[in-house]
C-alpha cells in the first residue's frame, strides 16, 4: 500500500541555507506508528524560490507547496493530515 502522505523536502541551496537543513532531519523525528503512512524524500531544487511570493524553505506535501516551513510546523501538518484521514 502506498504511503498516505508523500513529502518532498527541497535540498536546493536556497532552501538548505534558509533552514531546510533541519527539515531533512524529519525521518528521524517521525514516531514509529507513522512510518508506513508517511513517505519522506529530499529532492533537488524545486525551483519554487523564483516562482512564488512564499519564502524558503519549501516542502511539497501530496503535490501541494508549503513555504517558510520549520520542523515543528511540518510535524503539526502531518499530524493534522493523518487525523483527518482517520476521521474519513
Amino acid at each position: 500500500m502506498p504511503a498516505e502522505i508523500d513529502i518532498e523536502i527541497c535540498a536546493g541551496t536556497t532552501c538548505f541555507v534558509w533552514g531546510g537543513s533541519e527539515l531533512l532531519l524529519l525521518p528521524e523525528q517521525l514516531p514509529g506508528r507513522w512510518k508506513n503512512r508517511v513517505n519522506v524524500r529530499g529532492t533537488t531544487c524545486l525551483h519554487e524560490c523564483k516562482n512564488t511570493t512564499l519564502k524558503p524553505p519549501f516542502v511539497r506535501i501530496n503535490g501541494k507547496l508549503h513555504g517558510d516551513m520549520d520542523l515543528t510546523g511540518l510535524m503539526t501538518l502531518i499530524e493534522t493530515m493523518l487525523e483527518d484521514a482517520h476521521a474519513v
Partner: protein
Amino acid sequence: MQFENHARRLRIEVVTRLARLYAGNRLTSDIHKTPFEMIPRTATPNRCCVHKDRAVVRYRVLAALGFRVEDETEEWKSLNDYASEALALEKPEGPVLTVLDTACESCIRTHFFVSNACRGCVARPCTTVCPKKAIKIADHKARIDEDTCINCGLCQKACPYHSIIRIPVPCEESCPVGAIKKNESGKERIDPELCIGCGNCVRNCPFGAVMERSQWLFAGKAIREKRHTTALVAPAAAAQFPGTFAQFKTALLRLGFTEIREVAQGADETAKLETAEWREAIQEGKPYLTSSCCPAFAKTLDVHLPAIGKNRSRTPSPMALTARRVKSEHPETLTVFIGPCIAKRMEAQNLPDVDLVLTFEEIGALLIASDIDVLNQPEAPAFTTEASREGRGFAASGGVAHAIHASLKPEDLFRPVCIDGFSKENYLRLKEISKNGLDGNYLEGMACEGGCIGGPGSINPLRAAKKKLTEQIK
C-alpha cells in the same frame, strides 16, 4: 537556543537579499528598499509596530555591510550611501561583533521572580532560607525585594511548589567569559578586549540583537573585479552543504574563486608541528600542552585563564599555515577563509596572510545570489595532494587529539582531555583545571559543542553535520 529559529532566518534573509542586490548591480540604488520589502505595512509586526521592525532591519543591513552599529553618528544617512561607503572599503576593521541597540530589549538584569504558582504556604521555607531576608509575604504570596536580593537562588531550591523562577539575560548567560554587559541605559555592550568571538551571544539573543560584521561584500567585490582569489575551505565544510565536498568545490569555482585550497592540509601540518611541540614540552617537564587551533579557546586561555595559557601551544592554526603557503605561492592573491567561525575573524586580524573570513551562511547567500545550486554541480577533480583523514577530522571535537595520537608511538603515553564546547559545566571544568592542574598531558579545547561543525556560522544542525562528516571522511 535551538539551532533553527526566526532570528537566524532573519539574519540569513538580510544577507541573501543584499547579495542578490549586489549580483544584480542594484546595491547602491535599491538597498534602501530592503527594510520596506522585508516588513511591508501589511506585515504582522514582531515588535510594537512595523516601523520599529523596519528600523531594526536597517541596522541588520548595516551589520551585513560590515559596519559597527555602535559607530553610527549620522542616523539620517541613507542605506544607499552606506552601501557606497562599504564598497569603497577593503574590509571592516575592529571588533567582529556589533550590538544593535534598537533591537536589544534591555532585558531586566538576571533575577529571581515569584510566579503565581506561589500558594503563600505556612512553612514559608523561602523566607527562612534567604540569607538577606529579602522575601516578605504580602497578600498570601511571597515577594522578593530586588534591591536586597543577591541572586543566590536558595529560595528557588527551597520552594516545594517550584514557584520561584530564575529569569536570565540570555546573551549574558550564554557568554562564558562575561564580555557582554549592560551599559548605564540597560542596553548590552560587548567589551572587545574580553570577547573571545565564540558567537554564543549571536546565537542566544532571542531578539537577534547581536550580529557579526559581515565580510561577504568584500569577497564578492574582489571576485567581480577579477582579482586572483583563493578560497581556504575549512574542514567543517565537508559537513555543511548538500551534496559532496567535491561538488561544493565546483560551486565555489563557479562563484568565481580562482583557486580552492583545503585547510585540512594545513591541519595535517599543524598536527605534525604540534606533536613535536607536545613531545618537547613534556620532555622539558611541562605538565601538559593545550591545543590552539580554536581561536576562541586560545584567546580564552590568553586573557581569562593564564594559568592554563602558559601551557598553550604556539603552533600556528591550520588556517594560518594554509594561508601562509598560498601567499608564498601567489603573493597577489586575496585569501578568503570559509568556515563556521566568527572567532576566526579575530584570529585573521593578526595574520597578514588571511585577508577575509566568511561563514557558511555568508557563502551560502553568495551562492544563492548567483543561482548556484550545490547539488547540481559536477564533482571537481581531486586536489593534487589530498589532506589526510586525520586532517579532515579537525572539524569535530576530539579530532585534534586524535590526529596527534595517530602520529605518536605507544611509548609516548599520550593522555588527552577534551573540552567539547564552552557549556557552563565545561567552563567550570576549565576553571578547575586552571586551579588544580590537568589530569592528563594534552588539553584539546573547542569553544563550540561538537567542534567546528557546531560553529555559529554553520548551516547544518550539529546532529546532521556529525553524520555527514563521518560519511565524507570515511
